[in-house]
Symmetry: C2
């Protein structure tokens, strides 16, 4: 009998990974479902990518992804009882269990993403998803269907997230955009509209660079407007 | 740098456990939120139970619990690409990733439960929860707030769960009920109304026993009616 009762430690084996245009943390949405036009895939290791394991999944609109934090900062993954969520402006403390912060005891993330389609390829099953909030090559440990009959609570109290309005920037492209499709431009617009700047940075001259699908998207922010000043291929 | 990228295996450390009256698998709800009157607690190891870590949590109505499957059957926890969900009557196969079945690659469960209150005791923080679907002493690996603004999708397609009506039994108590509070009786009624019998068992004479808080609740099922014939203290 595989008895986990009282087990102090369990292993999770990576079953696959996320592929998406976001290769760095800067610009990533702070939750899933915030940037609906950010698209990506989940690809699986051979033993888990058999089509049978995904039978019926395409009939669900959303799925849960349980994934691993990916060393996005030296101190992340360390337990801190109190953290300062970016959504609160970065200067207010709340308990880590009241947030989705990575400074929690176990390095696992949970994201609800839209399942666009299930593709069977000769290399195995590929899940096409949108609204993700993890970067390229994030390890995946489980996929579960989203069950609206027990998991949709639209009227539920949402803690401090209820009190904070969604701050959005207007995004304009200053020049002709190179190397990008219309879908990419939609996704980039959504990502930058969420104001990826660290809290308290407000220098209208400062140029930020967000990596997206091999392109460095350079922008600056003036008041409520983000101006994309250049889109250049990343070196290397 | 704690780089999880491409990590084949990660550890999860137990941070606490669920305490609830259900000590065995038989009778457990098949998902969270199905038996709203089933109440329990989450208690934490000393290092994680500091009140600061839970600041702000009481302002959320629901929380996610990431927990470990607990060896409820010899073969569970083994990856099976196709499974037969009880909700489909136990005779129809679907892909394991289209279900919340324990026959998945990693032995972790995900439950959305109602947070009734957060209690600070001299032994640490205790979360009072309801609508749980795990048994007593289930190991807990993470607590995350439920975020209605990104996780409530009431109109979402729910796969095969959309097609199957919720089958409920009427529950009657034949005799005076001993050893049980009114709250216990409500919870037991809810649990038995979900028809915990294995698929295809339909013998009106057969007596089933569901353990609940040290009491063996004996019942039989005749058509759409469950008759509780005795409530006896469990030996030992």
């Amino acid at each position: 009998m595989n008895n986990n009762m009282n087990q102090e430690k369990i292993f999770l084996n990576k079953i696959g990974e996320v592929r998406c245009p976001m290769t760095e943390k800067f610009g990533l949405p702070r939750q899933s479902n915030l940037a609906e036009d950010l698209r990506g895939t989940v690809v699986f290791k051979k033993e888990y990518s058999v089509p049978e394991a995904f039978e019926g999944l395409a009939d669900y609109e959303y799925i849960w992804i349980i994934w691993g934090f990916d060393g996005i900062g030296e101190k992340e993954g360390t337990f801190r009882p109190r953290v300062r969520p970016p959504r609160l402006g970065g200067n207010e403390f709340v308990g880590v269990f009241s947030t989705r912060s990575p400074f929690r005891p176990n390095h696992i993330g949970l994201s609800c993403v839209r399942l666009e389609s299930v593709e069977i390829t000769d290399k195995g099953t590929v899940l096409h998803i949108s609204g993700l909030d993890m970067r390229d090559k994030t390890p995946v440990y489980d996929i579960k269907p989203y069950l609206p009959y027990v998991e949709a609570h639209p009227g539920a109290r949402g803690g401090f997230t209820d009190k904070v309005g969604e701050h959005r920037l207007e995004v304009v492209f200053e020049n002709t955009v190179s190397y990008l499709t219309e879908g990419d431009i939609k996704a980039i617009t959504e990502l930058i509209s969420q104001d990826p700047r660290p809290a308290y940075q407000d220098d209208p001259q400062r140029i930020y660079g967000m990596k997206y699908g091999g392109v460095n998207v350079k922008f600056r922010v003036e008041g409520n407007k983000a101006i994309v000043v250049a889109t250049e291929p990343c070196p290397g």
